[in-house]
């Protein structure tokens, strides 16, 4: 039942470009989709392990820059006898490289930051993203700094009968993002339902108890951190190869905040939360654009956020999960567990 409704939703989304081939709509939804993938990755940490990473845009940016640079090729003088020269790589290889690089940083940050928890972890992650932005701004030889990396090649795909197709049309971009989003969702869903996923929920709730029954807390957190960073890196790679221009602003705090809002409004710790929150807060600015003045847009945005948190403090999905009960994709219904825990 749950699987069926999931497939129906995916199929409906896949048909959108056929039923409603409006390029503007498709590009807006694709852009929101990339943020949703990033939000899904943040939810792994924030929702399932309870660690608030306020530097999540860093992994997004690292994925974007690594993937873009590998596909463009670069040479950079590191101060050794000869400069490091990297020839342009096939786009998918570059894309994979972005994921690997982001995961690596996820591992590194996990190793360092999980020694400090809570507020200190938050500060470490913020600083990390700021440092990354400074590097992207100032290492002009490598990143072109504020001049931005331009003409990044798009991803391409071999389609039977058509040969290799460059994924540049709005519809193909949309499908690409949708496929990546579904993949990210399925990976996260399986991870959360696995043994280590249960362990993460256990340690989020009561770390001392989790430790006392032998859950390897640090290892568990690092697995989540690496996967979370990897998925964020994939989102960044998608951004780089679909927008095809990136500048150091991808590391801006506002992107992290946008992800956090999507996760919290949708319902952290639920699978569908970041998707629902991402659709609302990703599409809202565009939907309001033609209707009201920009200043009013942001007011509506803010008011909506406050209203959601006021009336649905656990987020939209948990609030409606209780009503719809069956067929929902939320893993658990915190509304049912919280009230009775005494």
């Amino acid at each position: 039942m749950r699987r069926l409704s999931f497939l129906v939703i995916v199929a409906a989304l896949a048909l959108l470009p056929v039923l409603w081939p409006d390029p503007y709509l498709l590009s807006v939804v694709a852009a929101a989709g990339i943020m949703i993938i990033a939000a899904i990755s943040l939810n792994l940490l924030l929702g399932f392990t309870g660690q608030l990473s306020l530097g999540h845009a860093a992994f997004f940016g690292i994925g974007a820059y690594t993937s873009a640079l590998l596909s463009l090729g670069f040479d950079v003088d590191l101060g050794f006898s000869s400069p490091l020269v990297v020839a342009p790589k096939p786009v998918w290889v570059a894309f994979a490289g972005g994921i690997v690089m982001a995961s690596l940083f996820g591992w590194l940050l996990g190793k360092v930051a999980f020694r400090v928890r809570g507020a200190y972890f938050v500060i470490v992650t913020i600083s990390f993203a700021q440092v990354m932005r400074m590097v992207a701004l100032n290492w002009v030889d490598l990143t072109e700094g504020p001049m931005a990396l331009v003409s990044i090649p798009p991803l391409s795909l071999w389609v039977p009968g058509e040969g290799v197709v460059r994924l540049v049309s709005k519809a193909s971009t949309y499908w690409l993002v949708l496929a990546a989003g579904v993949l990210a969702y399925v990976i996260v869903a399986n991870l959360v339902r696995s043994r280590i996923g249960r362990a993460a929920i256990a340690l989020r709730e009561n770390e001392v108890l989790a430790k006392s029954i032998g859950i390897p807390v640090t290892r568990c957190l690092i697995v989540f951190s690496v996967l979370s960073a990897g998925i964020a890196g994939a989102a960044g790679g998608l951004y780089a190869h679909t927008v095809r221009i990136i500048d150091p602003d991808v590391f801006l705090f506002i992107y992290t905040i946008t992800m956090v809002i999507m996760v919290i409004a949708g319902g952290k710790g639920t699978l569908a939360g970041p998707v629902v929150g991402g659709l609302i807060f990703g599409l809202l600015p565009e939907m309001l654009r033609g209707v009201v003045a920009p200043e009013v847009q942001w007011m509506i945005y803010g008011a909506l956020m406050i209203l959601i948190l006021l009336f649905m403090p656990k987020g939209i999905v948990p609030a409606f999960g209780g009503l719809l009960k069956r067929g929902r994709i939320s893993v658990r219904r915190p509304s049912a567990t919280q009230g009775a825990s005494s």
């Binding site: 709730e205 430790k211 915190p334």
Partner: protein
């Protein structure tokens, strides 16, 4: 089986456990009694690797386990049933039990143990898919004990298992600890209720401000005039 030699545990600048030595033999039921803040829980936490030991050694079945990681202590065969919030309220009963076997790799064995645990605690079977947070206090304690047994321990440590339970459940929990020992598992229990503890155990240690001040068989302890006065109410 378990041997603590002069172990010391600090909480910041405070000494929580001060050169405590004690021994638990295979098949025994040993209790640590004493008032609040005497260092009983800290001793258990030091054994299970949750609190660093500053000096002294802990050995289990001849192997040193001082300052080992909690998961390796469990793999050695020691389970810890801590005080306070005892279950993962957001996980259901089955998941809580499975968490107890986290360090084990034998899936078939885990499934069998889960079944036998549910046979033993029919109330848990009735609530198997319910979030543990919706269980009553007594049921939560049952679940915590069952979860501890899921790691197939040879030594199980209970920290104040009766704390905060309704009187009829207190009785049940104590009976359960006796049953566990009768089934061949060694038990080390921390209990403030000295009267009940001395009824159940073979031997006991009295802790005061982090030190062992008295030890003996349950009978010796019950008959000791100081203990009668301070802990058994005359």
């Amino acid at each position: 089986m378990l041997k603590l030699d002069d172990i010391t545990v600090h909480y910041g600048a405070t000494v929580a456990v001060d050169k405590v030595s004690l021994e638990v033999n295979e098949g025994e039921f040993v209790t640590l009694i004493g008032s609040n803040g005497a260092g009983k829980s800290s001793t258990l936490r030091a054994i299970s690797g949750l609190e660093p030991v500053v000096s002294g050694t802990i050995t289990f079945e001849g192997k040193p386990i001082t300052n080992a990681r909690p998961q390796s202590i469990i793999e050695h065969g020691i389970a810890h049933c801590p005080e306070g919030r005892r279950v993962f309220s957001q996980l259901n009963v089955r998941e809580n039990l499975e968490m107890g076997a986290y360090c084990r790799g034998d899936h078939a064995g885990i499934r069998d143990d889960l079944e036998s645990m549910l046979d033993r605690f029919p109330r848990l079977r009735e609530r198997i898919e319910q979030p543990a947070g919706t269980l009553s206090g007594g049921e939560q304690q049952m679940l915590a004990i069952a979860r501890a047994l899921m790691s197939r321990p040879r030594l199980v440590m209970f920290d104040e298992p009766s704390l905060g339970l309704a009187p009829n459940f207190v009785e049940q929990v104590f009976e359960l600890t006796a049953e566990i020992r009768a089934a061949g598992t060694t038990v080390l229990m921390v209990e403030q209720n000295a009267y009940a503890a001395l009824e159940l155990c073979d031997r006991s240690y009295l802790l005061e401000t982090g030190r062992v001040v008295l030890q003996g068989t349950a009978r010796e302890m019950r008959d000791n005039p100081d203990i009668r006065k301070a802990y058994l109410g005359g």
